[in-house]
Homo-oligomer: 107 residues x 2
């Protein structure tokens, strides 16, 4: 198996975009960011762990809300600059209480 | 209807992450970037138009390959820093010929 981990392209801030998707319905739950450490923690623990740009620190999704994301699968795209997490979401993914963060329709 | 367009948060480079998802299957097809102009062009034309960071210019998806993305719906997330496009994809979304760009499994 090719080691895609070593191919990942983190940006100037050391971050990579991560999309969390419901592993059963394919619903997109949220988009957040990871640094190398949070990705390694995600892989090691089996639970989605991101890097908060506003707080400047690593956060395990659900550490406060208990709405954790169990990781089923992690993929990257053809140019290695985005990560896709297939997750089993406990409770709502969004801090507003909605299932998904993408509830604002533009058109 | 709230004008979410005016709430969007473009980053320091004037870009916002955009996820393209198959409007029927919910499959995630690709992740790319938009600037304000490419977003306006997407809305006006009805076809996904992105901003290429590597080429430093706007590109209509499929302008060369003909694998265009007809926009069914555009949403943004709870903090307005990511865009989700529900699209009707013609042909494969990925330049490799695969349906989706997310074909590299990490775990």
């Amino acid at each position: 198996m090719i080691d895609f981990l070593n191919r990942l392209k983190f940006n100037e801030q050391g971050l990579i975009a991560a999309i969390a998707q419901d592993y059963k319905t394919n619903e997109i739950l949220m988009q957040a960011w990871m640094n190398e450490e949070s990705l390694n923690l995600s892989i090691k623990s089996g639970f989605a762990t991101y890097f908060s740009r506003s707080r400047g620190k690593i956060w395990k999704k659900g550490e406060t809300s208990k709405n954790i994301q169990e990781i089923i699968e992690i993929s990257t795209d053809c140019d290695y600059d985005c990560i896709l997490l297939q997750v089993k979401q406990t409770g709502p993914a969004c801090h507003t209480g909605k299932r998904s963060c993408f509830f604002n329709r533009i058109i």
